[in-house]
Every structure is written in structure tokens, then in C-alpha cells.
């Protein structure tokens, strides 16, 4: 049963290799592993929050404890899980997809991994301090985050950790941009790059354009907390929010595009067809990226201090490129021969569920609607539909799709299906009630609510749903463990895929390709080969 997978090179298994190995595949695996560990940690915080909220009254933590839970849950998921794991996917697959032997600027890339791990550990070490971890939400809005309102080392550690995670993103993104700019194989023109690589290019462009604002916000906040009085003025709090959200909205698409790109690859592979409207996808990604830099004010509609009309217009306009992306996903399937393997199931989950997040996003982009639902559980449901029901489903589509490439073994199909359906059930049970609760008036970031509101029932359902999501993740971990013991060897290309990473061994050798690359005449060189063989 257990077949041995022999990598065609000697992998670096020493501690030194783990610490300073610069192979982009090793860095990506370590980064992805660290991000997944943070996902589990942030998930445990979420379960504790849901346990506290299941019924009115304080049962398992204090108000101060709860503030740390939701602050660190959001911070962990955004800074330490979704963003880095998205960049890890690119770190692994961009060089392979463009036919490069190595990532550009490998040491900068490695630095990105270390900054992320250090940042995460610094942020989490806040739990060891006297006052606990950072507790001014993942946004650290001023003056709630000022020294006088959030005293203690935990908040300082939070600022430092977030700043390092931001720097990590810049380093990781820069080396991917450099790889795409300078390491493409002969024949790989920009318009022959696979859609996933395109999605990583725009992701990394947004990262290098917006993450410096985050690092700046954190540096200024840290200085302010130690007496510099930077934001302590009439315009200071709004200045902080503008700087923060200048990072904070593009990052939403940093946490979305890589998974959109992966889903397009999966849909294309499991339909047996090239992506429909490839150039329209590229243009829509670029339009989306450009717009993403001018929508941040929609987080500030209720502040009365931004031009609501302008930001409502730019935010709603995102529906146009998003619509083209949906057309590409469905258009690729039309006329295909669709095979519903686990990666495709997760891709379909992404398509349907992200739509709920996207449409509710258009809803909250309207100020008269946002005046009601802003900072309520409605918004919590909205962005979890984009991030968990959308991006994380896209992530698992990518994981099930690329696992055989990375490890040489196929994850078990049946466990994958159990994982998928449990995840679907849990996600909707968790977040549909939150739409209702928010609409009915439940503010976000509350540790408790009065029994008089009658919110206990919906909250209990939501908590049960969170438990089912956790169970589905356990199924995934079991699948990974069983696969590593008894997984079926994958071979170079188990899915009959289209892009260059499937033209090499699984896992790929140290410098990615040993044989000559196939001719690159389209974004799907392996499909070209198969079609030529038929002719």
C-alpha cells in the first residue's frame, strides 16, 4: 500500500536547512505551514468567542479577555494566515508556472518568511504579558489604541508584530514581482502567463503599493504610544484610519485574488478546457487592482469624514470586473467535460459562496444601507462569506489541487468530500445567523448581550456551525496524516493539467525542471502538447 516517493534530489532536512534554505519551494512550505498553524490558533480563538456568545451572560471569559480574543482572532487570520498563505502559494507556484529554475531575490523571500514568523510570535507573546494581548481590534483604531486607553505591553507587541508581518508581505511580494519580470522562460510572454500567475502579479502589486501604509501606521502608533503624540489632535484619529484603510482595503483583494486565480486553474483543469476570455480576465484583474487603491473610504461611511458618494461609486464599480471574472469561471465550464474531484468541489464552493460575500459587499457599499449594518454582525457575516466561505474554500481547492505536486501523493478523495460538505454546512450555519443578528441590531465586538433581545437562539446556531467548521478542519488534518502514510503516488500530472508546474516531477527537483520545457505558445502549454499529439 505504502509507496515510497523518492524526490529526485536530496532535500535539506537539517535544522540549518529549515532556517536558511532559500529554495522557493521550501520557503513556501515553511511559510504555508506557519500560516496554517496560525489558522489553527486563530480558529481556537474563534471557537472560544463563539462559546462565549452562544448564550447571553458571561460564561467562559471576562470582557477584557473577550476583547483580546476577537482582536487576536482578526489579527491572526488577516496578518498571519490568509495573507501569508496566499503569498506562500505564489512563492511556490509562480516560479514553476513561468518556467523559472529559482525565485528571484531568494534571500529577500526567505527574509519575508522569517519576518512573518517573528511578527506572529511577537504578536502572540502579548498573551504572556500582564495585561494580555492586543485588545483594540485588528484595526487598532485611534484613540482606542492609544496608551491611555489600551495600556500595556501586549498592545505594543501587537503593533510591532503587525509591522513585521506587513514588512514580510512586501518582501515576499517583491521577489514574486521580480520573478515574473525577469525570470520567465523563453516564450512565456505576459499574455501567456497562467491566470494564477497573473492573479499573483496583481496581488503582489497591491501588496507593495499598500502594505507600506500598514507599516507606517504601526510605526506611528507605536511612537504615539510612547509619548510622540502623533495622532493626538483633532485630525489625528481620522488620519490614522485613512492610513490604515489605505492598506486595509487593498489587502482584502490580496486575500482574494490568489484564490480566484487558483480556482480558475482548477475549473479549467477539471473542465478540460482553456480559461474562457483569458484577456478579459487579465483586464478585469488590472481594473480591480486599480480600483482597489481608491475604495478604502467605504470603511468610513459612518465617520462623516470622507466623501461617501465617491467611495460608494468606486466600491460599487468593482461589480464590473468581478462580473467578468464570474463569466470566465462559468464560461470555462460551459462546453467542458467536468470532473467533480475534491479540488473542483471546493472551487464550486468558492464560486457560490463568495458570491454571497460579494453581493452583500455591494449592499454595504451603499451608505444608506451601511448606516444601519456597519459595525454590526451583518458586516461580520459579509466579510466571513468573502474570507472564509470564499477565500478559504479557494485555498482548499488549491491545496487539494497542488498537494500531489508538492508532496508526490494524492489526498484521499472520500475524506476530501467529507471535509468539503462539513465545511459547507458549518460555514452557512455559522454565518447566516449573523446576517440576521446584525440586521436586528447586534453590534460586533460585544462580549455579551441582554437576554431581552432574544438573540440567544441564532447565536447558539452560529456556535454549533463554528464547531462543525472545526470538525471539518480536523477531517482535513486526518486526511493529510493518512495520505503521508498511505497516499497514492501522484506522478507528474495526475489531473491532466495545463500549466508548466505539471511538466516536472512531483515534488519538483531543486531547480524545478530537469528536462527541457515544452514549447510555450499559450497559457496552457501542456494542453497544447496533448492537442498536438491528437492532430
Amino acid at each position: 500500500m505504502s509507496a515510497t516517493i523518492t524526490p529526485p534530489y536530496a532535500p535539506v532536512r537539517s535544522l540549518v536547512g529549515l532556517a536558511v534554505g532559500t529554495d522557493h519551494k521550501g520557503v513556501a512550505l515553511r511559510l504555508g505551514g506557519a500560516a496554517f498553524a496560525f489558522f489553527l490558533a486563530g480558529g481556537i480563538l474563534a471557537l472560544l468567542m463563539r462559546a462565549e456568545l452562544a448564550q447571553p451572560g458571561m460564561q467562559i471569559t471576562s470582557r477584557g479577555g473577550y476583547d483580546q480574543l476577537f482582536s487576536m482572532h482578526g489579527s491572526t487570520m488577516i496578518y498571519l494566515f490568509v495573507t501569508p498563505i496566499a503569498l506562500a502559494l505564489g512563492t511556490y507556484f509562480v516560479p514553476l508556472q513561468v518556467g523559472a529554475a529559482e525565485i528571484a531575490w531568494p534571500r529577500l523571500n526567505l527574509l519575508g518568511f522569517w519576518l512573518l514568523v517573528l511578527g506572529g510570535m511577537i504578536m502572540w507573546s502579548g498573551f504572556l504579558t500582564r495585561g494580555g494581548a492586543g485588545s483594540a481590534a485588528w484595526t487598532g483604531e485611534y484613540p482606542q489604541s492609544a496608551a491611555i486607553h489600551s495600556p500595556g505591553a501586549g498592545m505594543d507587541l501587537w503593533c510591532a508584530g503587525v509591522a513585521l508581518a506587513g514588512l514580510a508581505g512586501i518582501a515576499l511580494a517583491a521577489s514574486q514581482i521580480a520573478t515574473i519580470a525577469g525570470r520567465r522562460a523563453p516564450g512565456m510572454t505576459l499574455l501567456r502567463m497562467p491566470v494564477f500567475t497573473w492573479s499573483m502579479l496583481v496581488t503582489c502589486l497591491m501588496t507593495v503599493a499598500s502594505f507600506p501604509a500598514l507599516v507606517l501606521a504601526m510605526a506611528l502608533l507605536l511612537a504615539d504610544r510612547h509619548g510622540a503624540a502623533i495622532f493626538d489632535s483633532a485630525g489625528g484619529p481620522a488620519a490614522y484610519q485613512n492610513i490604515f484603510w489605505f492598506y486595509g482595503h487593498p489587502v482584502v483583494y490580496v486575500m482574494f485574488f490568489p484564490f480566484l486565480g487558483a480556482v480558475l486553474e482548477v475549473v479549467s483543469t477539471f473542465s478540460g478546457r482553456r480559461v474562457f476570455g483569458y484577456r478579459a480576465v487579465v483586464i478585469s484583474l488590472l481594473v480591480f487592482t486599480a480600483l482597489s487603491m481608491s475604495v478604502w473610504g467605504h470603511h468610513m461611511f459612518t465617520t462623516g469624514q470622507v466623501a461617501n458618494g465617491y467611495f460608494s461609486l468606486t466600491s460599487t464599480m468593482l461589480a464590473i470586473p468581478a462580473g467578468l471574472e464570474y463569466l470566465a469561471m462559468i464560461g470555462t465550464m460551459v462546453g467542458g467535460a467536468i470532473v467533480l474531484r475534491t479540488p473542483m468541489l471546493f472551487a464550486l464552493g468558492f464560486i457560490v459562496q463568495f458570491l454571497v460575500g460579494g453581493l452583500s459587499g455591494i449592499y454595504v457599499a451603499s451608505p444608506p444601507l451601511d448606516y444601519h449594518v456597519h459595525d454590526s454582525y451583518f458586516v461580520v457575516a459579509h466579510f466571513h462569506y468573502t474570507l472564509l466561505a470564499g477565500s478559504v474554500f479557494g485555498l482548499f481547492a488549491a491545496v487539494y489541487y497542488w498537494w500531489p505536486k508538492v508532496t508526490g501523493r494524492l489526498l484521499f478523495e472520500r475524506l476530501g468530500r467529507v471535509h468539503f460538505w462539513l465545511f459547507v454546512l458549518g460555514t452557512h450555519l455559522t454565518f447566516i445567523p449573523q446576517f440576521v443578528l446584525g440586521y436586528e441590531g447586534m453590534p460586533r465586538r460585544v462580549a455579551d448581550y441582554s437576554p431581552a433581545y432574544g438573540w440567544g437562539g441564532w447565536n447558539t446556531v452560529s456556535t454549533v456551525g463554528a464547531g462543525i467548521v472545526a470538525l471539518s478542519v480536523v477531517v482535513f488534518i486526518v486526511n493529510v496524516a493518512l495520505t503521508s502514510i498511505a497516499g497514492r503516488p501522484a506522478g507528474a500530472d495526475p489531473w491532466e493539467a495545463h500549466t508548466l508546474e505539471w511538466a516536472t516531477t512531483s515534488p519538483p527537483p531543486r531547480h524545478n525542471f530537469t528536462a527541457a520545457l515544452p514549447a510555450i505558445r499559450s497559457p496552457a502549454p501542456l494542453l497544447d502538447l496533448r492537442e498536438e499529439a491528437i492532430l
Binding site: A137, I351, R445
Partner: protein
């Protein structure tokens, strides 16, 4: 959707013809929800049809992809029109909702960690203020324009009355001025702080007592004591 109520009284049977934030919200939502539902339905039906029709079967090869950029362009135009309609209605309604009318009654609201204080310029000496374990009550006449001047004493808070479908932030060093209209008749409701503001954010609740003409007269005559 049930409205949020405490045990103190009934909710607002809000007639939608009454101009005000709740009316504005409903006006926009009545457009957005059907559009969202239609888009969701179209995508779902297209996806379901595709999955059934183009499921892999023995002996059937996938058709090669032909790009139809006219379809992409057409969709972009359709979506552009939809966006234009949505944004036009949003911006018009937003302008109406945020425009200030002649105030029938004025309120000075102050948010602080962790409670509310309401005073009324036309009723000097009347102070409704939170005490530990006892939320403040906002007293307003129903059926007229209530103009609120909202301030904070410390961090950012937000004044949210879910039944009115409206909230506004209170920012340090700034005054936020907005109009609210409470439907005619006597009603009671609650308001929350929506912006996370520290340890007792959860407890930053206030009651709303919207009074009809007779009760409002009694309340005014008695100098703000219970009407």
C-alpha cells in the same frame, strides 16, 4: 425582521411614507435586495445547468475554448448600467438622508466610556445620563425632526438606533449633527454603541422614549421627570 425591543414597550409601527432614516434605508434596500437576489439566482441557475449539462461522460471530449469578447463587453456594459442605477439611487438617497432640516427638537448627545448623556437645549436642566447598571433614556417627541449634536468625551463611539436603521460615529474634537424622525405615537426602543470602545462596549446601551404630543407635554411640564 423583528425589531429589537426591551421589555419596556412596544416597537415602532413605522409607516414607510414617513420621511426619515428608516424610510431612506427601505427605499435603497428595496432596490438592492431584488437586484442581488436576481444576480444570485442567475449565477446559480447557470452553474447548475452547466454542471448537469457538461458533466464528464464516457466518450465525450471537452470542446475547445473559443473566446467571445463581445460577451465580455456586453456583460461589462450591462453591469455598468446596473451599477449606474444603484449608485444614482444611493447617492440621491444619501443626500436626502444627510441633509439637515429645520429642527423641531434638539438633543445634545455625549458618548463616553461607557455610557451616554442626553441634554436638550430647549429644556435646560433636564439631564438623562447613564449610571452604573442603569442605561440613560433619550427622550424625544415623535413625529417631528429631532436634530442630534453628537460628541464624545474620549474614544470613538457610534450612536446606533437599529429601529431607525441609522448610526453615526462620535469623533474626538468633532460634533456630528444629524436628523432623526421618530414615527408618530408613543414608542420605546433601544440604541447601542456600535464602535468598539473598550472594556464595557457591550454595556453601552441606551433606551429611547419617543413620546406623542400629550406625553411629551407632560414630560416637558414636569421638567423631564417620568411622564
Amino acid at each position: 425582521m423583528g425589531n429589537v425591543r426591551l421589555a419596556r414597550g412596544g416597537g415602532w409601527e413605522c409607516p414607510l411614507w414617513l420621511p426619515g432614516t428608516r424610510h431612506d434605508f427601505a427605499h435603497v434596500q428595496d432596490l438592492y435586495l431584488p437586484v442581488a437576489a436576481a444576480v444570485f439566482a442567475v449565477v446559480l441557475v447557470a452553474l447548475a445547468f452547466t454542471l448537469v449539462r457538461y458533466r464528464a461522460r464516457p466518450g465525450r471530449a471537452p470542446r475547445p475554448t473559443r473566446d467571445h469578447y463581445a460577451v465580455d463587453a456586453g456583460l461589462a456594459v450591462v453591469l455598468g448600467v446596473v451599477v449606474a442605477v444603484l449608485v444614482t439611487v444611493t447617492l440621491r438617497t444619501n443626500d436626502e438622508e444627510t441633509a439637515l432640516a429645520r429642527a423641531g427638537f434638539r438633543v445634545d448627545a455625549i458618548a463616553f466610556q461607557w455610557g451616554w448623556q442626553f441634554t436638550y437645549p430647549s429644556r435646560p436642566g433636564v439631564v438623562d445620563r447613564s449610571a452604573p447598571g442603569r442605561p440613560a433614556t433619550l427622550h424625544v417627541p415623535a413625529g417631528t425632526t429631532v436634530q442630534v449634536d453628537l460628541r464624545t468625551r474620549d474614544v470613538v463611539h457610534a450612536f446606533w438606533i437599529p429601529d431607525l436603521r441609522f448610526k453615526r460615529d462620535a469623533w474626538p474634537h468633532k460634533t456630528a449633527r444629524f436628523d432623526l424622525r421618530f414615527p408618530p405615537g408613543t414608542a420605546a426602543g433601544v440604541g447601542h454603541c456600535a464602535q468598539f470602545c473598550g472594556l464595557k462596549h457591550s454595556d453601552m446601551v441606551f433606551f429611547v422614549d419617543a413620546m406623542d404630543r400629550a406625553r411629551f407635554a407632560t414630560w416637558s411640564r414636569q421638567g423631564g421627570r417620568r411622564a
